[in-house]
């Protein structure tokens, strides 16, 4: 369990530092996706604290069930995350017409009034 949690946090950190260190805007968006994958995985880990058996109504009793609530909640998070990424990629497609290299610093220099 501890190893699993450490891996999940490692994914979150890799994503976060990817947003900072990657130059290309698309890579930044992908890094953000990696980070949100980490956050989603963390919810799954939290749900599996009490057990990993799927909580489906049936005959079997006395099994260690997974908690359904975090899983249900993070579904919303997944949907929100991917819709935001889709929206951002559309924005980047439009930007690509005038900034073919898609380097964040270049785009920022061209579109910030004082730079």
């Amino acid at each position: 369990m501890f190893i699993l949690e450490a891996c999940v946090f490692a994914v979150i950190f890799i994503g976060f530092f990817g947003i900072i260190f990657k130059q290309n805007v698309i890579m930044k968006i992908l890094a953000m996706d990696v980070m949100s994958t980490g956050a989603i995985a963390y919810y799954i880990v939290v749900a599996a604290r009490g057990g990993i058996f799927a909580p489906i109504q049936g005959e079997i009793v006395g099994r260690a069930y997974a908690d359904p609530v975090p899983q249900a909640v993070i579904l919303t998070g997944i949907v929100i995350g991917f819709s935001i990424q889709a929206l951002m990629l559309v924005g980047v497609m439009k930007l690509a017409r005038n900034n073919p290299t898609l380097e964040a610093r270049e785009i920022e220099r061209n579109n910030t009034p004082w730079m």
Partner: protein, 480 residues
């Protein structure tokens, strides 16, 4: 009670239904949008004057709750009034149905954010708000607006991911998502959740994304953002401070920090819209500095800031130096003077009573700092008041601009009645001395001063990098 609950749910859902239906009725979209905003004003008034505070629990036992009380009603009133004014301002601007759809949906989402009393419905509200805000920022479709919007979405989404991790920790500790669970949650959860809310609400150094975003958006959008949208991030902080007493010192501390940061930047700013944006960063601090009475301050700030942004959009230039050399029409000057007087805390508009109320609810260590900051606010807004103006009889103004400004300033005047106890000789004298000192300092020192503060920290990569610093700082604060 059941009637109340049904009415509330209808009022919450209606903006989304109407927002999507507006597409089918392109000729009527503006009127529907105004009606939705007016409905929120009515609901806010009802909440404010008549109804008992109540809460709605949505699912069985996971703490997903909507909470309605006096505090909520201030924010809902503000949202309704500012949205109505912004739509009136856009009446003759030939905006597409898409614009009004996003505007109404944004209005609904902000209303929802002001009612949340649990972490997960707040998360959904804030993320949806981010999407609607992005679509409004990028409405002109220019490269610059696209970049500003992308930058906003990047920063807010990254901050909300940290918030989400914090939410998981709170759930793990309490098996509930309610705000009150922060009291028994691990300390790290508080740090992660605060990072999300501070960034979303434009507080302290987490709020440095705000000046460019609010400065480069179109006039009505800037007014809406600075007036209402950032407060969706501030409101939960106020709510948490009231529900969990251990958090109150932290919230008050960030309030004082952001007041100072915003005021210092605002004093030295040479661009009208950026000055207003920095002033937003600082004014939000007054809301956090005394959470118990933050609602009234938020209401008055929203009304004033929206009217200032709408007027600044009408001026011939955005640069103060150019405005000094060319006179603006006198009618705009009067609006600016009224709004800036309210912002500086001069009597007869609600800015005065809300400032007095906040100042009376401060802790001893905050009083000095915020009094100095109030002088700083007066210095910053003296820049607007002492601009030259002249009568321009041939100026053709659209009546809807009068309507928009009239709604905002009229409400400011009426809101005075919420706290009439503020009108006492000692308070009046203090307000006059504070503003007088500010104007004097402006005339003697700051008028001829040109200091360029570094803008490096507003670059995109620094905004993301600062999150790690703020998070480290927060960990350190909550663990001590």
């Amino acid at each position: 009670m059941d009637v109340m609950a049904s009415l509330t749910i209808i009022w919450l859902i209606l903006p989304f239904m109407v927002g999507f239906s507006i597409y089918l009725l392109p000729r009527w979209n503006r009127y529907f949008a105004v009606a939705i905003a007016a409905l929120s004003v009515l609901y806010g008034c009802g909440q404010f004057f008549g109804w008992e505070p109540f809460s709605l629990t949505l699912t069985d036992s996971f703490g997903v709750t909507l909470m309605f009380d006096q505090l909520t009603s201030y924010f809902i009133l503000m949202n309704g009034l500012v949205t109505a004014a912004v739509i009136l301002y856009c009446f003759d601007k030939q905006k597409s149905p898409f614009f009004y759809t996003q505007l109404v949906i944004l209005h609904g989402v902000v209303n929802a954010a002001f009612c949340c009393a649990d972490l997960i419905s707040l998360y959904v509200a804030l993320e949806t708000l981010g999407v609607a805000a992005f679509l409004l920022i990028t409405y002109p479709r220019s490269d610059r607006s696209l970049w500003v919007g992308l930058r906003y979405l990047f920063v807010s989404n990254t901050a909300m991911l940290f918030y989400l991790i914090g939410t998981a920790l709170v759930y793990q500790a309490n098996h509930s998502f309610a705000f009150s669970g922060l009291a028994t949650a691990p300390r790290e959860a508080i740090a992660l959740i605060f990072l999300g809310l501070l960034t979303k609400g434009g507080i302290f150094i987490s709020g440095l994304w705000l000046p460019l975003t609010h400065g480069e958006s179109e006039t009505p959008i800037s007014a809406l953002f600075s007036g209402v949208v950032v407060k969706a991030g501030v409101f939960p902080l106020v709510r948490c401070a009231l529900l969990v007493p251990e958090l109150e010192p932290l919230v008050r501390l960030f309030g004082v920090g952001t007041v100072l940061l915003g005021v210092i930047y605002a004093i030295f700013e040479q661009d009208t819209k950026r000055l207003l944006a920095f002033s937003s960063i600082s004014q939000l601090g007054f809301v956090l500095a005394a959470p118990a009475v933050g609602g009234f301050y938020a209401l008055t700030h929203g009304l004033v800031k929206a009217s200032l942004f709408l007027t600044a959009g009408q001026l011939p230039s955005r640069n103060f130096r150019e405005l000094c050399s060319q006179s603006m029409p006198r009618v705009f000057w009067w609006v600016l003077v009224l709004a800036c007087a309210s912002m500086s805390g001069l009597p007869f508009l609600a800015g005065y009573s809300s400032k007095i109320l906040t100042m009376q609810n401060l802790l001893p260590w905050q009083v000095w700092v915020l009094n100095i900051a109030a002088v700083g606010t007066a210095i910053a807004f003296a820049k607007f008041i002492f601009l030259p103006c002249q009568a321009q009889p041939d100026l053709q103004l659209k009546p809807n601009l009068y309507w928009a400004i009239g709604v905002l300033l009229g409400s400011l005047f009426v809101a005075n009645s919420f706290y009439l106890e503020a009108y006492q000789p000692s308070n009046l004298l203090k307000a006059l001395v504070t503003t007088g000192a500010g104007w004097l300092a402006y005339g003697l020192i700051f008028r001829g001063l040109t200091v360029k503060l570094p803008r490096m920290f507003e670059e995109f990569e620094h905004l993301i990098g600062v999150m790690s610093l703020v998070l480290t700082g927060l960990f350190w604060m909550v663990l001590v």
